[in-house]
């Protein structure tokens, strides 16, 4: 080839190779500072903030899963909350002991809690697999609303299968034990700081989020990710290129359900009791908002979006006394609950408007979505 042809094009966009990608990421010390901060939080923040952070971590895990499905494969799902419920309740049923509570009989298998957690995630995946006749065949709005059916079915089961779910009462969540460490409220003093469930769970949440994030990133950057994107962009062409479309659609649905299941287990551990009300349609919509706000198809986006959507109301309520505009409840004016909804609604609209790639783009505007 002639020399002239080898000249790089004038406006070469970011290269796709992982290596150069790594170079473009913020300097390692930024990561280091961030990690150290995250690791130190339990020593300084009180339970409220830790719990809020844990909610955000669980949401982030769930959002990563949804983003695999909706962002990367173009399969709209409004049934994510259902799989969260499967994870949360699955864990309780598998780990809980049989017995009676408030006069209701509760069935539990009493498995070791770590095993129950793993099985609960698998159970959520299996639930996703059961839905694959639909998930493999439908797309777009039809799939979105078909998955809405899961929410209604789920809530119905949660309320009615008393002996498994505890009905409206919910079930107590057995604390997780891992390597002899139990994530309950029994105090363990670390560096003169009493560690209760939130402090302990914090590290568990971080680990789960990190693992989940890295895994999803690997999937997206690898062969399956390409196949998923191809299905999103051109279903028939994907098939002709050798991608088994229905199997991949079903597969990613299962994977995303497993992420939801993991998020559900973590949420259950934080809540310490499962409540059926939680796993409703609003929750599913919040997850959708997370991935759009953060950026469709990107792992970092899911995390950022989840943090945003899940922390915003908590922060606003917390500071409701000192924020202008927002008035304390019962004094007339805009209640913090309302203010946070205004903000959150406006954020969904505005982020998409001004940052078409989501908040994740802010960090690194040049970077390709992924």
């Amino acid at each position: 080839m002639s020399e002239a042809v080898k000249d790089a094009p004038a406006a070469a966009p970011a290269t796709a190779t992982p290596f150069t990608d790594r170079l473009r990421r913020p300097a390692p010390y930024l990561w280091l500072t961030g990690s150290v901060l995250l690791l130190l939080f339990p020593f300084y923040l009180d339970r409220f903030w830790l719990q809020a952070g844990l909610f955000a971590m669980a949401a982030a895990i769930g959002a990563i899963g949804l983003n695999l499905l909706t962002g990367s494969t173009g399969q709209l799902s409004m049934g994510h909350a259902f799989f969260l419920a499967v994870g949360a309740y699955g864990y309780c049923i598998l780990a809980g002991e049989s017995g009676t509570e408030n006069g209701h009989a509760l069935t539990g298998l009493g498995l070791p809690t770590w095993l129950a957690a793993v099985l609960a995630v698998l159970l959520a995946g299996a639930a996703g697999g059961l839905f694959s006749p639909i998930a493999g065949r439908l797309s777009g709005a039809y799939l979105g609303i078909a998955t809405l059916a899961l929410i209604f079915i789920g809530q119905h089961v949660l309320f009615n299968a008393d002996s498994l779910t505890g009905g409206f009462n919910g079930r107590p969540v057995p604390p997780l034990s891992l390597f002899g460490l139990t994530f309950d409220d029994a105090e363990v003093v670390v560096a003169a700081v009493p560690f209760q469930s939130s402090e302990k769970l914090w590290y568990l949440g971080l680990a789960a989020l990190l693992a989940g994030g890295l895994f999803a990133r690997g999937v997206l950057r690898g062969r399956p990710g390409r196949a998923l994107n191809a299905i999103r962009d051109h279903r028939i062409a994907a098939g002709v290129m050798g991608v088994p479309v229905a199997r991949y659609r079903a597969g990613v649905f299962v994977l995303s359900s497993m992420y939801a299941g993991l998020a559900g287990v973590l949420l259950a551990l934080v809540f310490q009791r499962t409540v059926p009300e939680y796993f409703g349609m609003i929750l599913s919509l919040e997850y959708l908002a997370m991935i759009v706000i953060g950026g469709l198809g990107s792992v970092a986006g899911a995390v950022i979006g989840a943090a945003f959507v899940s922390l915003l109301p908590q922060v606003l309520t917390h500071y409701s006394d000192s924020l202008p505009l927002v008035s304390a409840p019962g004094t007339g004016g805009i209640a913090p609950g309302e203010a946070s909804r205004y903000l959150y609604g406006a954020a969904v609209v505005a982020v998409v408007l001004f940052l078409p790639g989501g908040l994740a783009r802010l960090k690194n505007p040049g970077e390709k979505k992924k």
Partner: protein
């Protein structure tokens, strides 16, 4: 047997209200390919305007203003929000409408407070009895209005240039523009029409036998989702049939819940979704929807 007929007719009558709501979804979807989650809040807006005005200016003028008001709100949503996203991914747009819905619903419920508002309709709690079966007059009105509006839109979509523009704009905005179609005007009109339809639906959703308009009314509007999907998101006929199917399913499942109690009680809400899932398994684009078309 009379119970069955009573439940059936009751289901058809509430079903026609769902059909009206579903029609609003269908109009937006046909014109912009967007699933409009903000429809419930348009409904709330229309109902609210009617409710606050009827005491002062009478029911019919209030309803007219309510319809116009909801149309204006719909247009405003299009003009200030949706227009800026033209060409974005379908699911992104759907999620944007969720954002809009949150904003509108919060504002409206804040205004409504905790009241139950009456729309001041002239039908009151009058009923007609046909062969031992009683039906609320409001529901008969709803049935007639839904049938009429759906026929009108069916014809409009098929035969007017507005309908052609709308479908063209939905499918390929750029080429539609090359045909001289004013995209802005088309989608603005779609949103305005959807708003107006929502206001009409709001009326029928909140008059007797339901007590009135209040903050939870928008939740009831969600029942139009399975209706729209079941019928086919881009089909006006589908909206009608879907609405009726949902109404009847819900009514029968409720009425016979004692006999169905092995499924757990209170499956009235759930049954339409189950029917929807079964329909989708057989017909992935709903009963009357256009199948996903693709050839290479």
């Amino acid at each position: 047997m009379t119970t069955f007929i009573e439940l059936l007719l009751g289901g058809l009558s509430i079903g026609s209200v769902y059909a009206l709501i579903a029609l609003g979804f269908v109009v937006i979807f046909k014109a912009t390919e967007v699933v409009n989650f903000a429809h419930a809040s348009l409904l709330l807006a229309g109902g609210y305007v009617t409710a606050v005005l009827h005491d002062d200016i009478g029911f019919w003028p209030a309803l007219a203003v309510g319809i116009a008001g909801a149309a204006v709100v719909g247009s405003a949503v299009e003009f200030f929000v949706m227009r800026r996203y033209r060409g974005s991914d379908q699911s992104v747009l759907a999620i944007v409408t969720i954002g809009v819905d949150i904003l509108l619903t919060t504002e409206l419920t804040r205004r409504m407070g905790t009241d139950v508002l009456s729309l001041g309709d002239p039908w009151g709690d009058d009923v007609v009895t046909i062969g031992g079966v009683t039906l609320a007059e409001t529901r008969i009105a709803a049935f007639l209005v839904a049938g009429l509006l759906i026929t009108v839109f069916l014809l409009a979509f098929r035969f007017t240039s507005w309908g052609v523009s709308m479908r063209a704009a939905a499918e390929n905005p750029q080429t539609a523009a090359l045909m001289g179609i004013r995209l802005g005007r088309v989608s603005l009109s779609a949103w305005a029409v959807a708003g107006a339809l929502a206001a009409v639906a709001a009326l029928f959703l909140t008059v007797f036998p339901t007590p009135g308009l209040e903050r939870a009314t928008s939740l009831a509007a969600l029942k139009a989702f399975p209706a729209a999907i079941l019928g086919g998101l881009d089909s006006t006929t589908g909206a009608l049939v879907g609405g009726l199917v949902v109404g009847v399913t819900e009514s029968l499942a409720t009425g016979y819940q004692s006999d169905l109690s092995f499924l757990g009680r209170g499956i009235g809400d759930l049954a339409p979704y189950l029917v929807m899932v079964v329909v989708l398994l057989v017909r992935p684009a709903g009963l009357f929807g256009t199948k996903e078309l693709s050839r290479v």
